[in-house]
Amino acid sequence: MNKTAAVVGAGISGMQAALSLAERGVKVYLIEKTSSIGGIMARLDKTMPTLDCSICILSPFMLAVDRNPMIDILTLTDIIGAEKSDIGYKLTLRKRPRYVDMDKCTGCRDCMSKCPKKITLEHEEPFGTVKAIHFDFDQAIPAVPYIDAENCLMLIKGTCGNCAKFCDKDAIDFEQKEEIVPLEVSSVILATGARPYIPLDRMEYGYGRYKNVITAMELERLLSASGPTEGNVVRASDGKEPKNIAFINCVGSRDLKTGRGYCSKVCCMYGIKEALLVKDHDPGANVTIFYIDIRASGKGYEEFFQNAKDSIRFVRGRPGEILEHEGNDLLIRYENTETQEVIEECFDMVVLNTALVPCEETQQLSEMFDISVNNYGFFMPSKDISCPIDTKQDNVFVVGACQGPNDITDCVSQSIGAVSKTFSMKGDIKQKEKRSLPGASGKDPRIGVFVCHCGKNIGKYVDVKDVVEYAKKLPDVVYAEDSLFTCSDQGQKSIKDTIKKEKLNRVVVAACSPKTHENTFQEALIEAGLNPYMLEMANIRNQCSWVHSKQYDLATQKTKDLVRMSVAKARLLEPLYQREVDVVQHVAVIGGGFTGMASALEMAKNGFRVSLIERESKLGGKASVTNKQKDGTIPEELAEMMANHLEESNNISVFLSSEVENVEGFVGDFILDVSTPNGIEKIECGTVIIATGFDSADVKSSGYTTSESVITDEKFSSMVNCGMLDGKNYVFILCVGARNEQNPYCSKFCCISSLNHVRCLLEDKPDANVTVLYRDIRAYGYHEDTYREVSEKGANFIRYSPEMMPHIDIDKKVVEVYDTTSSKTRTIEFDYCVLERGAIPSKGTTKLRKLFKMSVVSSGFFAEAHLKLAPLDTALDGVFIAGSCQYPKGISEAITQAVSAAGRASIAMGGGTYSAIPITASIDENKCIACKLCMDMCPYKALQMSENGIHMEVITVSCKGCGTCAAFCPSNAITISGFTYKQEKEKLKAIFEGSME
C-alpha cells in the first residue's frame, strides 16, 4: 500500500512538509482553507534578519509545490470530519466553490477589471480595495482568481455577471456548488499556522477607533510593493506619509489580560525589521520602538538589533494609553522605565506589534484528531522535549506556528522533522521514479513557433497573425501557428501533434513568462519524444503586450524581435540530461551531544549505516550540565537512554575520543580520515551531518574571575544535580561573555537555562533569596511562563546596562549593580554568584570548516544554505548542520533540527543516487590556463584542479549552474549548458538584425 498524507494548512510549514513528503514519493493532499497557498509569509514584505524579499524567496517554493506531481493542492477546503481507519484516517473535506473553472482560467485578470463590486482584504482594509473576483495577493497559487460569494452581485442578487461576459475562456461558473469529499490518508500533518492578533481588546491603544493606529501585519502590506499602496507607507486618515512613527511591542503577548501569557517570539524582530524598512522608504522619518525586553534570540538577530539602534530610537517602557488628537495625531503616554520619566509624546502613526494567536479551528481539529492543545489554544506536542513534533496519535504531527509562535527557520526545521518521523526512507517508500529524458532528434534544426493570443491579453495589443507570418520566414523555422491559449490542453495537443507531424526538433513558444509555463511546455515536449531543453520561450505577454498596451505597432515590432531572438537561440539548443551520482549508503555524524545522537538514531531508523564521531570519551555533550526541565525530563537520563539505543543498534558505529582529520570527495562519496584511539580509521560515506554544539564563553571577557562562591553556570548545574547547594542568597549574572564587543551576538539558550536554574533552585529551596541581573530577559515563546513563574515565587530581576557591568566583590560576597529601571545602585549579598555564560563555536569548528570548505557567519557558527528556507543544508551538497553548531539553542529545538537534518540527509541518499539539475558548467581542458580565477568565484566550491594539475574541472554534482565562473574565465574555457556563450551571443546578435524601431 502506498503511503499518503494530508497536510493541513499551506503556509511555509505546510508547503515545506508537502515538498519533503513528495521528495520521499509520498502522495500528498495539501489542504488550505483560503484560495491560495502561501500563508503569512506570502503576505510579508521582507523577512528578518536577512531582509530577503519574502515573496521572492517564497515564490519559487510555491511554484515547486504547484508543479510537483505528488502534491494535490486543495484550496478553499476545510476538514469537517476525521475518523480513524485501518491505514490511518478517513477525512471528510468540504470544498467550497471558487466559481472559476481552474482548468479553463489562464489568470489573465480581464474579469477583475470589469467587476463593479469592490471589497477589502484582511490586513489591507484601511488602504485599498480589490474586486469581488480577485486574488488574495498578486502571486497567488493556484493563479486563478476566485469570487467572494458574499459580495458578488450575481451570487447574491442574480444581477451583473460581468466577469463571465468578459472572460474569453468561459472560465466563470456560477453553478459550482460546495462539495463534500471523503479522503483516506495514512498520516496527517497539521500546519494550520497562526493568525496575527487583531488588538481590539487592548482598547487603550485605540485600534479600530483611531485611524492611524495599525497592526504590524497591515504595515507589512503597506510596505509590500504588491500591497494595496504599492509599497507606499501612508496614513489611513489623510494619505500622507507619516514622519513620526511609533511601534509598540508585546501587544496581546506577555499579557494575561488578553489571556496570552506567552511571548510571541517573532514580534520584537519583525518590529525592528519593519522599522528599518520604514526608514528605508523615508530616511527622514523618525521611528521609535517601545519595548519591554528586546528578544533578539536567534541567529543574526542581536546583530540586526544592534545595527538598527543607529537609526531607530528604542524606548524601554510599555505605553499606558494612546489618545487621538486633532488631525488624527496620536498622543502616547508612557514611562521611560530607564529614566522613570512620565512622557506624553505625539506621533503621526502607531504600529502595534501584535501577538501570533492560534487559528480559529485549532480546538475543533484537536477534538477531531484527539490531540492536545495547551492553555493558550495552540496544538501541544504530547511527549517530552525529545519529541517536540509528536502528538498523542502515532500518525498525527503538529508543525510550525500552530504549535506556538515560531519564526520561519523553526517552522521549516519542524516541518522537515515531522516528515522524517512519519516516513522512514527504506522499506516504506517506493523508490523515486527515474526518468530518462529523450535525446536529440535530427541533426539540422527544424523549429516550430507557437504564438499565443492569451485570449485578448496578447491578441488585443499585438498583431499575432502578422508575427506568425514573420516567424515563418525566419531561418530553420519550418512551422508557425497561433492559438488562442497555447497552454490549454488543446494548445498543448497541437504542439505535440505538430512535433510529430513536422518532425520538429526545436520549439519556440511565444507566450507568457517562462516562470509560469516553461514546465508545462517542457512536459509537452517530453510526451512528444523531444528533450525538454529543446524549448525556448519568448515572453511576449508580461514583458511586451502588457507593458506596451497603448502602442500596437511598437508592441508588434518588439514581439517579432523577441521571437527572432528566441529562434536564434533555439537553433543552437542542445539536449540536456538529469545528472545522477551513486551515493554510498552510509552517513557520518560528527558530534555526540543530543543533536548528534538524535541524528544518528534517526538515520539508523531510516535504514542507513551510521558512524558517530565524538571527540570526548563519552556521549551526551552538555547533557550532564543541564538540569531537570519544566516538563520533568532529566536531560542526563534522556542522554543515557539515547546512548543505550545507539549501542543496541546494529547499524551504528560509535567512535569515541575521535576526530576528523582529513576529508576527501564530495556528495555521494566522502572519505573521512578519523583519528581514533586505535589509530586512523577511514570512513566512506555519502553524506555528513555536523552536530558539534558549542563551548561556553570565557568569563574574562566580561571582566570576571571565578572562585569558591563565584561559579559558572556549569558548576551551578552540577551542584543542583548533586543537591550540593548550601547557601541562602543567590545572584545570577546573565550575558557573561555574550552581547559584548568580543562576542557581539546573543547566545539564545542562556536566558532559558538561567531561568531553569532559578526554577530548580526555588523548587529545592523555596526560601532562597534570588536576584537575577539581566539586560533583556529573552524568555521567548512559552519560556515567558517560566519567567513569570519564578518571579511570582519571589525571584527579583534587576536590569543592568553593559556600560556598567555588575561589580563582584569576592571577599565581601556582594555584587554592586546599577539598576537601570530605578536609577539606583544596589548592593546585593550572595553566598553564590552564578555567571551565566554565552556560547562560542566549539573549538574544532575552524578545523572542520577548513576540512569541509564550509562557511561560517560573523558569530563563528556554521553558515546554512539559507537562514530561513534551508537552515540545515550548507552550501556544500551532502553536508548538513544541526543543533547548537548552527546556533546555540535549547534541547528540544536542537533535537528537532537533528531529526530534520537526518531527513535532509536521507533524501539526499535515498534511492541510492543523487540527481542534480542539468544546467551546469563544463570546462574545455584545452582552453583552460589554470589561472584558478573561477575557483575562487564559485559560491558552491564546485571547481577543483584536475589531478594532473594542468586544468580546472567541474564537480558537476555540486555545480548549480549560476555561471559566475564563466563570466570570470579569461580564456572562455567555461560553458554553461543552457546558457552557452554561443547561444546567448546569437540571441544578442539577433536583436540588432531586425529593425528595432
Binding site: 508585546c250 494575561l256 517602557g317 494609553e321 514611562e335 512620565v342 519567567y787 530581576f797
Partner: protein, 145 residues
C-alpha cells in the same frame, strides 16, 4: 485571578496609565517595585497621590492588583500613624456625624427651598444609627481624639 506583586516585569504600563504620575512625581511601578523589595517609605507623601482610578490595575499585563496593593500600603501607613491631617479630619467627621461631608446651615436652607426635608434621613437625623457607626469605629480602634 490576581498575581502577586512579585510577578511585575517592570513594563511601565501602570506608570504610563496613571493620571497622578503626569502631574506629580508619583511613580506607580516604582511603588510596586519598592513594595517587592521591602523598601517602601511610608513617610513619603507619594503613596497618597493615587486617585484609585484603577487604570493601572485594569491594564497591568501581569494581572497585578496594583490599586488594591496601594490601599494595603496605605493601611500599613495608617497603622503606623502616618496619615495626612486632612484625612484624619474626615475620619473625625464620620465619627462625629456619620458623614465624611456633614451638612451645614446653608445647605439645610437650600434643601428646604428645593422642597426637600431640611435634614436628610441619614445619621444626621437618626442618633441611634450614629451610635452604631461610632461603636464600629471604636471597635476598629478609632476614637476621635
Amino acid at each position: 485571578m490576581l498575581n502577586s506583586i512579585h510577578s511585575c516585569m517592570k513594563c511601565g504600563t501602570c506608570t504610563g496609565s496613571c493620571p497622578s504620575g503626569r502631574v506629580v512625581s508619583f511613580r506607580t511601578r516604582q511603588l510596586v517595585e519598592e513594595h517587592c523589595l521591602g523598601e517602601i517609605d511610608l513617610d513619603d507623601i507619594a503613596i497618597w497621590y493615587c486617585t484609585t482610578c484603577y487604570n493601572c490595575m485594569e491594564r497591568c499585563p501581569r494581572n497585578i492588583d496594583i490599586t488594591d496593593d496601594i490601599l494595603r500600603i496605605r493601611e500599613e501607613a495608617y497603622k503606623q500613624g502616618k496619615v495626612l491631617p486632612q484625612h484624619k479630619d474626615i475620619m473625625s467627621y464620620i465619627y462625629r456625624t456619620g458623614h465624611a461631608v456633614p451638612i451645614n446651615e446653608e445647605i439645610k436652607d437650600l434643601r428646604e427651598s428645593l422642597g426637600l426635608s431640611r435634614i436628610p434621613p441619614t445619621t444626621h437625623k437618626f442618633e441611634e444609627a450614629l451610635g452604631i457607626v461610632r461603636l464600629l469605629l471604636e471597635e476598629g480602634g478609632f476614637n476621635d481624639k
